[in-house]
């Protein structure tokens, strides 16, 4: 029951093709896939250990210029990890199913607010409306938040996907904006910019060496939580990608009508991808609420949906690894550049230009390298084929 065994036939064929022109990155990749199983597990394990150690000062001090100079490394790592999680989720929607979801942060907000509403002793759901007698713990709230985000995804995606997929983009964009509008009403459930305070931290019982609760202001434990979630999500999503579900998504992308006629319930699989994206967005929001401890209408920069999209496109839509690399670049790089600027005595804040810059990146990538920097092989050849078609017709 190993990955290697599962993908054997396709791999073997691709390997044959890649071998003669393997160079640089390609060579690394094929050398990696030719390594014995044990070596690959060891390599993956070493990477995971490295990632868990990374936020410790005694560890990253030795990493030359890699750490960020201007801001707390652990905080930046937490934010980056967080962003990676979002990108992995959006990749399912955009990369696997070929749908455009622009309201990703809307589901994020849903997840965050649900957690805040049911865990904070000050939330109106408890104080004013008495839906709950007592606040529940963060851990118990997370599944509820994920479920509600997913259900809102289904409610939104159902009518839209059944009729016309291209409207999904604008409906989701509108959804995120409506959440923002609703959240900013002071009279409403969400209490506007006064927000919901006292959201409990994830696991208050865990103590560190000095006897203080581990989950407080230090970003490290939150980074570890997110990293663990990412690993779990990546494993689950990968399993799905390599099953009938993943095949159905590819079939839909390549020829939706033929897929339907071959017995694929195309609507169901598109909705599934969309709902998974919404659930991961909601999960991220739940984690965010647990870290911040306070949520208000200004907590959500819904424009950041475009950054997650840029991360997925830049990395390579349809490839989980690509999404991770893209998200790391999109978030870590500006922070790092800011630090380096400080080293050289410049006062320039690249994060202000983040959306502008990555909006441009999207446009340029779509024209010159739509498959991203670490492409999914299949998607790359889908683009190449379409291009050839044009050349042949011209």
């Amino acid at each position: 029951m190993t990955n290697g065994e599962h993908a054997t036939p396709a791999r073997a064929a691709n390997g044959e093709h890649a071998a003669p022109r393997a160079r640089g990155w390609q060579a690394m990749k094929s050398r990696w896939s030719e390594m014995p199983q044990g070596m690959r597990w060891a390599g993956t394990g070493a990477l995971v250990v490295f990632l868990y150690l990374l936020p410790n000062r005694w560890f990253y001090e030795y990493l030359w210029y890699l750490p960020t100079q201007a801001s707390d490394m652990a905080t930046v790592l937490f934010e980056t990890a967080f962003f990676v999680l979002l990108a992995v989720g959006l990749n399912v929607v955009v990369g696997f199913a070929g749908l455009l979801d622009l309201g990703y942060f809307g589901f994020f907000a849903v997840g965050a607010y649900v957690v805040a509403l049911v865990t904070s002793p000050e939330s109106k759901a408890i104080v004013e409306y008495n839906w709950l007698a007592d606040p529940i713990t963060w851990v118990a709230a997370v599944p509820i938040a994920v479920a509600i985000a997913m259900v809102s995804g289904v409610i939104l995606g159902g009518p839209t996907l059944r009729l016309r997929g291209d409207y999904l983009a604008i409906v989701t964009l509108g959804f995120a904006e409506m959440i923002r509008l609703y959240a900013s009403r002071t009279e409403g459930l969400l209490n506007g910019d006064r927000g919901i305070p006292d959201v409990p931290h994830p696991v208050p019982g865990v103590k560190d060496a000095t006897g203080d609760s581990l989950f407080l202001f230090d970003a490290k434990p939150y980074y570890w939580v997110v990293l663990t979630i990412i690993i779990a999500v990546v494993v689950l999503v990968r399993n799905m990608e390599r099953s009938r579900v993943g095949r159905a998504w590819v079939a839909i992308r390549e020829d939706e009508d033929a897929a339907e006629i071959m017995g694929v319930n195309t609507f169901k699989y598109k909705l599934l991808a969309f709902a998974i994206g919404a659930a991961i967005g909601g999960l991220s929001g739940a984690v965010f609420a647990g870290k911040q401890g306070f949520i208000n209408s200004a907590s959500f920069q819904l424009e950041s949906s475009i950054l997650v999209l840029a991360a997925v496109i830049l990395g390579g839509a349809g490839n989980i690894g690509g999404a991770i690399v893209g998200a790391t670049i999109t978030w870590y790089l500006p922070e790092w550049v800011r630090g380096m600027g400080k080293v050289f005595g410049l006062s320039f804040d690249p994060s202000e230009y983040r959306i502008l810059a990555f909006g441009l990146v999207i446009i340029v990538m779509m024209i010159f390298r739509p498959q991203g920097i670490w492409p999914n092989k299949r998607r790359a050849s889908e683009f190449a084929d379409r291009r050839k078609e044009v050349a042949a017709n011209a």
Partner: protein
């Protein structure tokens, strides 16, 4: 729900709704034209509107019209409107055409899949909004008060203000002109031909690139006119992200009337404007901006082709 309030303010809500709806309609034209020809939701169109708004603002500032001034005398008002409309429509049209050239055309040449167009559209939208956002430090700018809204004449309980008359008249004129252009001129026939069947029309000698250029140009001009009209409303404020909500509403209006249908855009815009203001009467100002979105989702469930159907190709405009 405040039904009594709705009935009391009915005339005023209706007229304000028509006035705002006329502006949605002009913006909706841009969505509907591009969708009719390219089957693309041009997200960047909301930014085309925003840029028109700033163009008018900066032009007026350059001419010395400032925010707090007394209402200008008629002569200089007309001058300001004339210069403003040239600036706004020009800047909007230039923006729209530039987006087409720089972002969409390369994709067409490469036969990119529809998803790539959508992604590029949203990218272009954010680039424009953020570009202006960075330049203006994300601050809101009040519009010079060129025209003091006042009641010009009254019919029963219906009080017509000068801005309402101007906005609605200009919109109707623009609509009629466009309708005539699309249904009678040679270029207009080209637009309809491409909307109906791009491949056949290419064989019949219609220059598809020129038609696409044209729809972006017209959409841009109309958005510029809309931006100017928006600026003379009492609520006129320019901000880098102002296009977002108006764009969303205009798109909902286009779908309401039947996307791809020019007269549908007018109908949808007016209906949405009126519906929004009735919602204000019924539920309060807070809920106004939700109307367009709710309408969009409900339409998709029950009548996705809109009220007049989708027919840039078939209908006479």
């Amino acid at each position: 729900m405040d039904v009594a309030g709705l009935l009391r303010d009915f005339p005023e809500l209706t007229l304000t709704g028509l006035e705002q709806g006329a502006i949605y309609a002009l913006v909706a034209l841009g969505y509907t034209l591009v969708y009719g020809v390219l089957k693309l939701i041009n997200f960047a169109h909301s930014e085309v509107f925003m840029i028109g708004s700033f163009a008018a603002l900066w032009t007026w500032q350059g001419l010395g019209f400032v925010y707090d001034a007394e209402a200008a005398p008629l002569g200089s008002f007309l001058l300001a409107v004339l210069v403003g409309v040239i600036a706004a429509a020009g800047a909007s049209a230039l923006t729209a055409v530039t987006i087409e050239r720089v972002a969409y055309r390369p994709l067409r040449k490469r036969n990119a899949p529809p998803l790539a167009f959508l992604i590029t559209a949203i990218g272009a939208s954010f680039v424009l909004a953020e570009g202006i956002g960075v330049y203006t430090h994300r601050a809101p700018y009040g519009m010079p008060r060129l025209l003091q809204p006042e009641v010009v004449f009254q019919l029963g309980g219906w009080k017509f203000t000068n801005t309402q008359l101007i906005v609605i008249t200009v919109t109707l004129l623009a609509m009629v002109a466009l309708d005539q252009f699309v249904s009678r001129s040679r270029l207009g026939r080209g637009i309809r031909a491409v909307a109906q069947d791009p491949d056949t029309s290419a064989l019949m000698g219609v220059n598809k690139d020129r038609v696409i250029f044209l729809v972006f140009l017209i959409g841009g001009l109309m958005a510029g006119v809309a931006a100017l009209l928006w600026n003379i409303l009492p609520i006129g404020v320019a901000k880098f992200n102002m296009g977002f909500l108006i764009g969303l509403k205009a798109f909902a209006a286009a779908v309401l009337g039947g996307i791809g249908n020019l007269r549908g855009a007018l109908l949808g815009g007016l209906l949405l404007g009126v519906a929004e203001n009735y919602a204000v009467g019924l539920f309060g100002t807070d809920w106004k901006d939700f109307v367009g979105f709710v309408l969009l989702v409900v339409l998709l469930m029950f009548r996705p082709t809109g009220l007049l159907g989708e027919s840039l190709g078939r209908a006479r405009a």
